[in-house]
């Protein structure tokens, strides 16, 4: 290597220029690759307003007497596909609808509260909650609704995975752990003139396993203005 004699300062300068420009290129490539491998989020920018449909028609109040929502697991997807929500007609005896008042719901994990919307419909008794357990994300039928047998056996939602229970007549607040969050409340709107139900938004904790209620899933087909109410048998 006879080049030592050549001015090593200039040599180093050129080397530095190679490193700087190649470094700039590597920075550009890295920026591209890193941004590329983070997948773009999939979802919606705002809550859609969807009409509840049942067997191909708008859902009527008469379709969901307390005995029906208590005897089956009644679900609809909102706000994205694969985001199941319970649809419940609350009753203290599985026959007569019982109104649900709006109320503040306590979040054990944070010590804070939020306002739960209360029941809608002719008897102010229809409520909806996310059907994904806030403890570790179990879904129906493992988590399901128990209709009230009598005043001694009130309504509750129980998750068979680890035994978390929620009170749907009080904003799905936590009755027993291990969960530390109530079930997120799905906000319904009842149109007294047409007798139909709409689902408009969500409140409370974020749906389990998501960064935001509106992302992390596939939206319903574009332009669809309804969401289907489906049923599963409790034994199922």
């Amino acid at each position: 290597m006879g080049e030592e004699s050549i001015d090593s300062g200039k040599r180093n300068f050129l080397k530095a220029m190679v490193v700087i420009s190649a470094g700039a290129a590597v920075a550009g490539v890295l920026k591209g690759v890193v941004q590329n491998i983070i997948p773009p989020s999939s979802g919606l920018s705002s809550f859609p307003e969807l009409t509840l449909f049942f067997n191909g028609n708008p859902l009527k109040y008469s379709d969901i007497p307390p005995s029906f929502t208590g005897g089956n697991i009644v679900l609809f997807d909102y706000p994205l596909q694969s985001d199941p929500n319970f649809l419940l007609n609350i009753s203290n005896d599985n026959k007569t609808p019982a109104p649900v008042e709006p109320m503040s719901v306590f979040i054990p994990a944070t010590g804070g509260t939020y306002e739960s919307p209360g029941g809608v419909g002719p008897d102010n008794s229809v409520v909806a909650f996310s059907a994904i357990c806030q403890h570790l994300g179990c879904v129906p039928p493992i988590i399901h609704y128990y209709a009230a047998g009598s005043a001694a056996f009130p309504t509750y939602i129980h998750c068979n995975c680890h035994g978390s229970t929620y009170d749907p007549s009080r904003g799905a607040k936590v009755i027993t752990g291990p969960t530390t969050h109530p079930l997120p409340a799905t906000i319904l709107k009842y149109d007294a003139v047409t007798g139909t139900f709409k689902v408009v938004s969500m409140t409370g904790p974020t749906i389990y396993g998501k960064i935001s209620d509106l992302t992390g899933g596939t939206p319903l087909p574009e332009g669809q203005t309804y969401t289907d109410v489906t049923t599963e048998s409790i034994q199922g």
Binding site: D7, G9, L14, V18, A25, K31
Partner: protein
């Protein structure tokens, strides 16, 4: 200014030495090469390296695309997700496509260069065979990749592939389901994806063998050393500079250039295209064969405007299927055998068929003639397929197009071979340069003439057009050969100039590199604020990034020129 006295530089140099020691860069068992291979026209000795660099780019960009590929709905996912919403997805997709094109073009250049030089002869016979297999597999991988997008072109390509597979006797149905799945769309695209990756892995393994053999056999020595006689084996010379740092610096420079160009070309095409799908179906800004993005969906009303093209690198077989010299239910298979499998077998077996020791192209007249004919036929068939896709060609036209080049090239080679044997190729350098320029001029003229006649012939077939096209084609191929030959002669007889010791003065190199370095930093600062989503902004990003890569290569070049005198 004696910077070495400063502790900082001293420490830095220790680190560099340690890195070199740790990576054993001084002891890599790689062959060293003479200086002329790294000089001005040295790029012709490194076509294999260029393919390897393009292959590396393909693997990296392909793995990134793999993260997002969805066989259940590939068209929507490619166009509306990868191109429209994934950050830099459009850039990776377009450059992956053009990286594949580059690889295929470079493989052809590599192949024909070694073919005419007689590099397939002993001791490189296995090396040659693995190389031809690599070409076939690369084209296959290209076909599978092209079929993955689910656009109208990909469904046409898979339909044609299915037809050819099905017309195979006895094994047809098995072969078709083996390659294209059970008929459902999901099975088709899952197969295309897996075969695309499986065969890429096979390329990697086979390339390992090819590269090992290349290193073991060493490079072809210059004609002056080998005297045009096989076995042409180069002995490493003490005058060869060590691999590190001389060859490594050269490789880094080549890689930077190649990556830069592989990103710049599709970026420009993206900017021309301007949007995800062509702005106009009837008059697209870029012809569908070279579009950087998938075409329309097969169900789109615009799909009818797109001719049922295969990928451009398969156009020659595609056109052959239209020839009415092949009839009957097996005609697609026969046509693709005659124009695909037979040439492939010819190239695979040439080292065993041509056992002579002659390396000079003129000493092997038939081998050279077949090579020239292979190039001519492939170009004619591809252009024909692109200009008149799917139009049946009666036998008389097929013969009219194929026979004249055959007669001229084979006859011409026979004549040149006789001249060569009589030692008539003693041309002084001035004369040979003049003849080269003359041939060049004639070649350009004939190519234009051929194109004109050809398109007239395509529009309305008449005997006159036919004859003039054939004549122009024949003359063009002859002139092309003359150009090549005179170039070779001119090269051979040029007085060898002693390379200048200082290719560039150190001070000039410092100033130019400083300007380039500042420019690179300014460009990266500018492009880093661009929106990572969107065809235009990604095209601009690619242009800038490719530019920086080329600039880095240029500074590397300056460094080699100033301090290695190369």
């Amino acid at each position: 200014m004696d910077i070495e006295k400063y502790k900082f530089w001293k420490k830095r140099q220790d680190v560099v030495e340690e890195v070199v020691d740790t990576l054993k860069l001084n002891e890599l068992p790689l062959k060293t090469v003479p200086d002329y291979m790294r000089r001005k026209r040295g790029i012709w000795y490194w076509t294999g390296a260029l393919i390897t660099i393009a292959f590396v780019y393909q693997v990296i960009s392909g793995l990134l695309l793999l993260i997002y590929y969805t066989p259940s709905d590939p068209y929507y996912n490619t166009v509306n997700v990868i191109i429209d919403t994934v950050p830099f997805g459009a850039l990776f997709l377009a450059s992956h496509l053009y990286g594949a094109y580059a690889m295929i073009v470079l493989i052809y250049i590599h192949l024909f260069r070694n073919y005419f030089m007689g590099a397939y002869k002993k001791p490189r016979r296995l090396q040659w065979v693995t190389g031809v297999l690599l070409l076939a597999i690369t084209i296959g991988v290209g076909f599978f990749g092209y079929s993955m997008t689910g656009d109208v072109l990909s469904s046409d390509a898979t339909d044609v592939g299915r037809g050819i597979a099905l017309s195979t006797p006895i094994l047809g149905a098995t072969l078709e389901s083996l390659v294209f799945g059970n008929g459902t769309s999901l099975s088709l695209f899952t197969h295309m994806l897996s075969l695309h990756i499986i065969f890429t892995a096979i390329i990697g393994l086979l390339f390992g063998l090819h590269f090992f053999l290349a290193e073991a056999n060493g490079m072809m020595p210059s004609n002056r050393k080998s005297k045009y006689t096989a076995p042409a084996v180069d002995k490493e010379d003490p005058s060869y500079k060590p691999w590190f740092p001389y060859n490594m610096a050269f490789m880094v420079q080549l890689a930077l250039y190649t990556f830069g160009i592989l990103i710049i070309i599709p970026s420009i095409l993206m900017l021309i295209n301007g949007s995800t799908v062509p702005a106009s179906a009837t008059n697209p800004p870029i012809p569908p064969l070279f579009s950087p993005f998938p075409s329309f969906a097969p169900t789109s009303p615009f799909a009818g405007y797109v001719p049922a093209y295969p990928p451009w690198f398969l156009l020659f077989i595609y056109k052959a299927v239209d020839f009415q010299i092949f009839t009957g239910p097996m005609s697609p298979l026969i046509a693709s055998t005659v124009f695909g499998v037979v040439p492939l077998l010819y190239f695979l077996l040439i080292p065993f068929m041509d056992g002579s020791k002659d390396l000079h192209p003129l000493a092997r007249p038939m081998v050279t003639a077949f090579g020239i004919l292979a190039v001519i036929y492939m170009v004619i068939l591809s252009a024909w397929g692109a200009l008149s896709p799917g139009i049946p060609i009666p036998p008389s036209e097929v013969y009219a197009v194929f026979i004249p080049p055959w007669v001229i090239v084979v006859g011409g080679m026979y004549f040149l071979n006789r001249m060569y044997k009589q030692n008539k190729f003693r041309v002084t350098s001035n004369k040979s340069i003049a003849s080269f320029l003359l041939f060049m001029f004639l070649l350009i003229f004939m190519v234009i003439e051929l194109a004109e006649n050809f398109s007239a012939f395509m529009n309305h077939t008449s005997a006159l057009n036919l004859v003039s096209t054939a004549l122009a084609g024949g003359a063009t191929s002859f002139v092309a050969f003359g150009t090549m030959k005179s170039a070779q002669v001119a090269e051979k007889y040029q007085p060898v100039k002693e390379p200048k010791q200082h290719v560039i003065s150190v001070n000039t190199a410092v100033i130019i590199s400083a300007i380039l370095g500042i420019f690179a930093v300014a460009v990266i600062a500018m492009i880093s604020t661009l929106n990572p989503v969107g065809v235009i902004s990604e095209g601009e990003f690619g242009l800038g990034l490719g530019g920086i890569l080329v600039i880095s290569g240029l500074i590397m070049r300056l460094y080699r020129a100033a301090f290695y005198h190369e």
